[in-house]
């Protein structure tokens, strides 16, 4: 059996390096792709009694987008890991229940082409809690293992309570309502 030449070794090394890069970067690329699919617009004009400063508004936008990206990953992959950090309290609890229930029934959900129109309707005087209205639009897909049993473009109204955490805003309450 002949030993591979220097040129062949280089090619093998390059292929292995590319494969490793692909392996390492794939979650990053996937996260970025999913993240960019979540559009969020924020209207804080009517916030009160405390007004929302621009830095806070940017933080809310960033963290709300991250939360929905995490929620989508969790309910599509039936894993609670993506929920860590973005949700707490009741919102975290029912999302974890949902994942557990989906694992049991074999169902999964996908939220595609998300667009969220957020409006701040209440910002506490001391800045420790914020209530928002989210008019969300997305394609809701429900799958039973590999079969899509429901696929519909929906408009859903959510009441959202967010509180500041150590380094981000977290969703404590996420509750759909028929209308605002």
């Amino acid at each position: 059996m002949s030993r591979p030449g220097r040129g062949e070794l280089r090619i093998r090394f390059a292929v292995a390096a590319l494969a490793l890069c692909g392996l390492l970067l794939s979650p990053v690329l996937k996260l970025h792709a999913a993240d960019s699919a979540v559009e969020v617009q924020l209207d804080a004009k009517n916030a009160g009694p405390r007004s929302v400063e621009s830095l806070t508004a940017r933080g809310i936008l960033r963290d709300y987008r991250f939360a929905w990206t995490s929620l989508s990953h969790a309910l599509e992959s039936n894993s609670v890991d993506p929920l860590a950090g973005a949700f707490s309290g009741e919102a975290s609890q029912w999302l974890r229940q949902t994942v557990a229930s989906q694992q049991k029934s074999g169902l999964s959900r996908r939220y595609l082409g998300q667009s969220h129109q957020l409006e701040v309707v209440f910002y506490a005087p001391e800045g420790d809690v914020m209530e928002l209205h989210d008019t969300a639009q997305y394609e809701s897909q429900i799958r039973d293992k590999d079969t899509t049993i429901h696929d519909e473009h929906v408009v859903v109204h959510y009441i959202v309570l967010m509180t500041p955490g150590a380094d981000r805003w977290v969703i404590r309450q996420l509750q759909a309502v028929p209308q605002f």
């Binding site: 009694p49 309290g89 009741e90 609890q93 029912w94 229940q97 949902t98 229930s101 989906q102 049991k104 029934s105 074999g106 169902l107 959900r109 309707v121 209440f122 506490a124 005087p125 001391e126 420790d128 809690v129 209530e131 209205h133 429900i142 039973d144 049993i149 429901h150 519909e152 859903v156 009441i159 309570l161 309450q173 509750q175 759909a176 309502v177 028929p178 605002f180």
Partner: protein, 288 residues
Amino acid sequence: MARLLQLGAVICLAGAFVELCAAQDFRVPATAVAGEGASISTTGIGKAIFYLVGPGVSRKNDLTLGEEVQLGPQDLRNAGDYLAIVCSGTCRSESFYVSAAQPANLTFLVHPSRVPVAQGDAVSGVAFPFDQYHNLVLTPENISFQLRGKETPLWSRSVRTQNGVAWFRTASGKSAGALQVVASLGDLNTPRAVEQVASDPCNLRITGQRTPKGILVQTEPVHDCAGNVVPDGTIVTFTATGAAGVGTVDAPIKQGIARAQMEAPGATTISVASGVVMGNEIRVGAQP
């Protein structure tokens, strides 16, 4: 040929009949309340699969068309948007909302935990009513806020919730001590405590006398403008100005009085301040 056509027609009609009978139809509840059961009625003949998808639930079970599907209280604990899907060959879906039940908890946030007396808009509170399943109650409710100091009612107001939240902001009381802040909704009472402390010193006055070691200066008992004793530990600054220059000493208030020993052999002017409040000045003659 005609017989063949007849046979075809019969087969076609039979097929259509079977399809018609098997076609699933169902009706979801018009209104549903969290933690209360509900039922979904179905029509048709044959077997199907029923799915319930909502916040906290993903249920799948076999169904005989024509029978009712019972949704237990556990299925509908979380308020929100639910989707019922029935699949028998094809899938059909209907959505319905579950609203929060009656208020069972009152989340009440009060700020700050420690506040100087007689400060305008210094105390604020925010209350959210939740049902027993921790769903935010969005139907308007009247929440009563009360402030009590040493068993004396100081302030009260009834506020109607908007989007599930009620809030207030008011001035602190005039006396130092515990301030009890209570939010009430029906039989629900959520108390919080705020410690009211004296405000800035008022009429800060000092006396001084020469001693063998220098000058002993001390304040009169330090009060705020409402007569509350300024808390121990509050820093009072004494400044001595004389021929030798300027010297300062910071002294904490102990039992209402701040004291300091200052070295100043010559004639000296001593002033006092605490925070932004200035007191009187005294002159002490040179050491004999």
